[in-house]
């Protein structure tokens, strides 16, 4: 079981705690294998078991040296060696010292085998993903945080879906009215009715009226109720004007002219 993490220079590191080896994948050179001292490897393994969680000095020493009595200097020396190998001697960003408590591994640096790049970085079947046990062992508070964040994201996503539905509903015209627009130049004529047949009949009347041969400008909305036709116009000046007349008695073209203020 291997662990993967990244160094500050972005190189991917594969740590095999059974063989005490670090395989460092550089982007521009072949992988470099480093064998750690047993105690150093055990320290790294313990810190990687719970990345982000603080391990006390006592726990580290007990784990790394199998309960043998060693001095605090041995631990300091091992940490120093590990940092040196991992290029972390200056900033201590990877193996973080927690004053008066111990050490912890920076969980932000964890990586997965899928992140692996480079010519020899193809994961073999032996290289099983290492983060699974680590994730399962995350501290309880971190897991709780993750749960709340997941729930918040879920709620936000549901709210976003509702908003999109509202936006769609707000911009969709009601289905109980049919509208058909005809435009030519500065004149726009819109037939309005309750059915498509009604609107098509109105459109046919408008098209056969010879309206386009007249130089009219503005917006006209036309509808029909029984024998009466309604023209509602927005004249070029912006003024609204409405006319109602019996289609049989008045010529449509003449009414268009009156409505738009052209005649």
């Amino acid at each position: 079981m291997s662990y993967y993490f990244r160094l500050k220079n972005s190189a991917l590191v594969e740590f095999d705690p059974d063989r005490y080896t670090l395989l460092i994948h550089h982007s521009d050179s072949p992988p470099e294998e480093i064998t750690l001292a047993r105690a150093d490897a055990r320290i790294l393994e313990l810190l990687l078991l719970e990345p982000g969680a603080v391990c006390s000095r006592e726990a580290i020493m007990a784990f790394a040296w199998d309960d043998r009595v060693v001095s605090a200097g041995s631990l300091n020396q091992s940490i120093f060696m590990l940092r040196n190998i991992l290029g972390d001697n200056k900033d201590h960003d990877l193996l973080i010292t927690v004053p008066r408590r111990g050490y912890r591994f920076n969980s932000d640096q964890l990586a997965s085998p899928a992140d692996e790049t480079g010519p020899s970085a193809e994961p073999s079947s032996a290289e099983t993903p290492s983060n699974t046990p680590v994730e399962l062992d995350q501290p309880a508070d971190k897991q709780r945080l993750g749960k709340w964040i997941r729930m918040a994201y879920l709620a936000a996503a549901a709210f976003a879906c509702f908003t999109v539905w509202q936006l769609y509903a707000a911009h969709e015209l009601p289905h109980d009215v049919e509208v058909a627009a005809i435009k030519q130049g500065e004149l726009s004529i819109t037939a309005v009715g309750k059915s498509k047949q009604e609107v098509d009949a109105l459109k046919a009347d408008v098209l056969s009226s010879g309206i386009w041969s007249h130089q009219l400008q503005g917006e006209v909305f036309v509808s029909r109720t029984g024998s009466r036709t309604n023209l509602s116009c927005i004249q070029k000046s912006g003024k609204a004007y409405n006319l109602e007349f019996a289609f049989s008695e008045e010529r449509l073209i003449s009414m268009f002219g009156k409505c738009l203020g052209g005649e």
Partner: protein, 160 residues
């Protein structure tokens, strides 16, 4: 621990941004241009054979009510009707009102009912308690054009 807190803040910021964007979008959806604005005005004519009936209309929609006033003139006869309504629903493309009050001047018969029955029938819905659905028709400018489903009545109005 510090990085956990940073990550939590990052997530909180992202979630807050999503919710804020949704709220802004919903607010824009809810706000309709014709609500709480200046009165819409319109005028026009009914051609009834040899007679011409002039009319002027005003519509004010200010939540939670709406007022529609009509002034009709035929020759030397005049009539005024003011319809007070409550706003049942107002969305971008639909205004639903319930007639709550009607004030009309005394001149009842402005035209020959037997000859212009369509004109008469188109008014029968302006009765107390009746629900009227105004479907807003899209226009190019800031005019309000609507079709009253119950009376098949199309009107365009503007602030001018």
């Amino acid at each position: 621990m510090m990085s956990n807190h940073h990550a939590a803040w990052r997530h909180a910021l992202i979630i807050t941004a999503i919710v804020a964007a949704c709220l802004a979008a919903l607010f824009m959806t809810r706000s309709v241009p014709y609500e709480n604005s200046q009165p819409y005005r319109s005028q026009g004519h009914h051609f009834m054979g040899s007679d011409i009936l002039d009319f002027k209309e005003r519509l004010t929609i200010s939540e939670p009510s709406a007022v529609l006033s009509m002034l009709e003139r035929l020759g030397d006869k005049e009539r005024h009707i003011a319809v007070g309504a409550s706003l049942v629903e107002a969305s971008r493309w639909r205004i639903k009102i319930k007639v709550e009050d009607i004030q009309a001047s005394s001149e009842e018969q402005l035209f020959d009912v037997s000859r212009h029955s369509d004109l008469l029938f188109s008014r029968q819905y302006f009765r107390l308690g009746s629900i009227l659905n105004l479907v807003v028709v899209p226009t190019r400018g800031d005019a309000l054009c609507y079709y009253i489903l119950e009376v098949d009545r199309l009107r365009c109005m503007n602030h001018r």
